[in-house]
């Protein structure tokens, strides 16, 4: 499987899936560790990318183009998410420069 | 107790920043202390320094801008980077040397400086200048007005980004300068108009040279019309930018094209005529909205009006002396010095100690391309002015900048500075 004996090994879908998993983990940890809302957004993007990578790998492995279509939608949704998220960050930071993600709790009103 | 001695920390920056819309009340030293910080921690404005070495501040004007994004909230012109001490120097020069000094103030229109100084001296002396000299002065001044306005077209075009117009303006101005060089001997800072008349009569062939320039100039002005006046981007950039009302302009002491752009037809040549402007026919160009476009259009059309005046001068130019024949005031002709002992003595006296001017004080003003150029002269009866003060139109006009710039964008500030057409030599003197 992953550590096939023959060299050069064939790059199978699993390789991509492992990479995706690691990427997802880094993103998730970053999201939990960092406090800067902008960086947290970036970590979310990392996670989305990991998922995208997985989708494309499955699409190829399964011979189903639906995976790629889903990636397309994920990108659009990511764009929408970033637009709204950044707008919120801007309006918060404008009032409170240097705010961290914890200060966004004030949005609860 | 003056403001300079006030310890900086006792001054409330915010209160001073707030006082007056568009006027940043903050001294340079304080502004420097602010550095790159925001003007106000709770605000998103930032202080930015524009100049004194900046490509579009027309020399060494410096502006402190308080910006919110690209929007100018308040601004303050900071002057003095070209302060030459000319008023002090004038007290040390004789009346005959005076024009040499003042001509270097407004270096875009040097003849007007000489004219106003000479007129002030003549007023104090109470002498009559010969008719031909008056007309020659008028001729030269109108040509100078054209060259100055061409310079404006060049720099204005450059500031808005029309690079070719820059070169076109210089090209036509250069022809004008060559004519000046032929008549006065110098391209700039001519020292041609002197108390008592002008330095020399018009040389042979000047009329042909002049007419040759006038053959091509209208075409080139139409080129400007095509490139700029009718150009949508140009109109977008200038129309409605840097608006100022007649009342504001009058309050701020603005004169010249700025005042006229608000629709107020105030031109000293017409309203308080000097030289022989009452004998020529011309229109005073006025604007409607007081915006940058009006000021541009006024200057463009004033070139045409000046051409009209020059054509009339060419017709009416009388024969006669080019300077007063009062040997106590004007030097004798070179040829007379070899023949007459008296002429030699006069020559010697004039050039060593100069002529004495009766006691008194006088204020004389002319309409320079930038507005009212005034000269306040106090004489104590010696051969040197006791006090000479020049009322520089650019200096006073610059006060309009903060009011024109309030709530404009950075790009507009460039257009506005350009439309005021300040000559820093005259502002700082």
């Amino acid at each position: 499987m992953l550590l096939a004996a023959d060299f050069p090994p064939e790059v199978t879908a699993s390789w991509y899936l492992v990479l995706g998993a690691v990427l997802f983990t880094i993103g998730a940890v970053g999201l939990l560790v960092r406090r800067n809302p902008l960086v947290m957004f970036m970590c979310v993007e990392l996670m989305l990318n990991a998922v995208n990578l997985t989708f494309v790998s499955f699409a190829r492995a399964l011979g189903d183009l639906g995976g790629q279509v889903v990636v397309f939608f994920v990108m659009v949704v990511a764009a929408a998410e970033v637009v709204v998220g950044l707008a919120i960050v801007v309006s918060v930071l404008r009032r409170r420069p240097g705010a961290t993600a914890d200060d966004i709790a004030m949005l609860k009103g | 107790m003056t403001a300079v001695e006030t310890p900086a920390e006792t001054i409330d920056y915010h209160a001073r920043l707030r006082s007056g819309r568009g006027v940043l009340r903050m001294s340079e030293v304080e502004a420097a202390q602010h550095g790159d910080k925001l003007a106000d921690e709770n605000d998103e404005t930032m202080l930015m320094n524009m100049g004194p070495q900046h490509p579009s501040t027309h020399g060494v004007l410096r502006l402190m801008l308080e910006l919110r994004g690209e929007q100018v909230m308040r601004s303050k012109p900071i002057l003095g980077y070209l302060h030459t001490g000319m008023e002090k120097t004038a007290e040390d020069l004789t009346y005959l040397q005076g024009p040499t000094n003042v001509t270097r103030m407004d270096y875009a229109s040097p003849l007007f400086n000489e004219l106003v100084f000479s007129m002030a001296v003549e007023e104090l002396l109470g002498i009559e200048v010969p008719e031909r000299a008056q007309w020659i002065r008028m001729l030269m001044c109108e040509l100078n007005r054209m060259s100055s306005h061409l310079l404006f077209q060049a720099t204005n075009g450059m500031d808005i980004g029309a690079v070719s117009v820059m070169i076109y303006g210089w090209r036509d101005r250069e022809e004008m300068l060559r004519l000046f060089e032929k008549i006065t001997g110098l391209r700039m800072n001519h020292n041609y108009i002197r108390p008592g008349g002008v330095a020399a009569d018009l040389p042979d062939g000047w009329r042909d040279d002049l007419l040759r320039i006038f053959d091509t100039l209208p075409e080139h002005l139409e080129d400007l019309d095509t490139l700029l006046t009718g150009q949508p981007i140009w109109r977008e950039r200038l129309q409605g930018v840097g608006m100022i009302s007649t009342q504001e302009a009058l309050d701020l002491g603005a004169t010249g094209p700025i005042l006229r752009s608000t629709g107020y037809a105030w031109d000293l040549r017409r309203e308080l005529p000097y030289l022989r402007y009452d004998q020529v026919d011309f229109d005073v160009v006025v604007g409607t909205f007081g915006d940058c476009f009006d000021r541009y259009a006024i200057r463009l059309n004033e070139i045409r009006e000046s051409m009209k005046i020059v054509y009339q001068i060419l017709e009416k130019l009388p024969k006669g002396d080019y300077k007063a024949l009062d040997r106590k005031v004007t030097p004798p002709p070179r040829a007379r010095i070899d023949e007459s002992m008296e002429a030699l003595i006069h020559h010697f006296k004039i050039y060593t100690e100069g002529f004495k001017v009766p006691e008194g004080e006088v204020y004389v003003a002319v309409e320079s391309p930038r507005g009212e150029l005034g000269c306040y002269l106090v004489s104590d009866g010696t051969s040197k002015p006791y006090r000479m003060h020049i009322r520089g139109p650019s200096f006073v006009n610059l006060q309009c900048l903060p009011h024109m710039m309030a709530d404009s964008l950075i790009a507009d500030t460039v257009a506005i500075i350009s439309s005021v057409d300040p000559i820093m030599g005259e502002v700082d003197r």
Binding site: - | A3, G20, V29, D326, E359, V362, G381, F395, V396
Partner: protein
């Protein structure tokens, strides 16, 4: 030209003429008002109401070394400084000038800024070059000279500041 021709036109004989709350003299055909520092603002306001809406210029003169007598009306004490302002009445196309005496001991003068905003720059210049403080001016700071400059260069007791030209390579003292 004879001496008579260049002699000043004699001022109007007594009784002293008065206009806009100030004494009047004539100089080379121009009317000159001589308000005191106390009546200065009132005079200028009266002028403005009378149509002199353009204040074209404000400047100062230092008469420290003046050897000549100044043409001042009776009742006006000559002081070291004088603040001169020029006004235009655009409707009548006429000019008028005010001259205010400012003593050396207390070089202050009311500012015209509340009446004519355009005097801001010229008054700052007069402050910078002569050290005359204008009361009521919003920004009485140096304008032409650097802010840390000592002295006021256009005062008569301030030397020209001329130095011998130092050529490159010449031994410096």
């Amino acid at each position: 030209m004879t001496d008579a021709a260049i002699e000043e036109v004699p001022a109007e004989p007594a009784p002293p003429e008065e206009a806009f709350g100030a004494l009047v003299t004539w100089s080379r055909g121009q009317r000159v008002l001589h308000p005191t520092r106390e009546t200065y603002l009132a005079t200028v306001e009266a002028l403005r109401d009378a149509g002199f809406i353009m204040c074209v210029d404000v400047c100062a003169v230092d008469y420290l070394l003046a050897k000549h007598g100044r043409a001042l009306p009776v009742g006006i004490e000559a002081e070291r400084f004088e603040v001169v302002a020029n006004f235009i009445n655009p409707a009548e196309r006429s000019r008028i000038r005010t001259r205010v005496q400012v003593p050396e001991s207390d070089p202050t003068c009311p500012s015209l800024w509340p009446l004519h905003a355009g005097t801001e720059g010229p008054e700052r210049e007069a402050f910078d070059l002569f050290g005359i403080t204008f009361d009521g001016h919003p920004d009485m700071t140096r304008i032409l000279m650097p802010e840390n400059w000592q002295g006021h260069p256009l005062r008569k007791d301030y030397a020209m500041g001329r130095i011998p030209v130092q050529f490159k390579g010449a031994p410096s003292s």
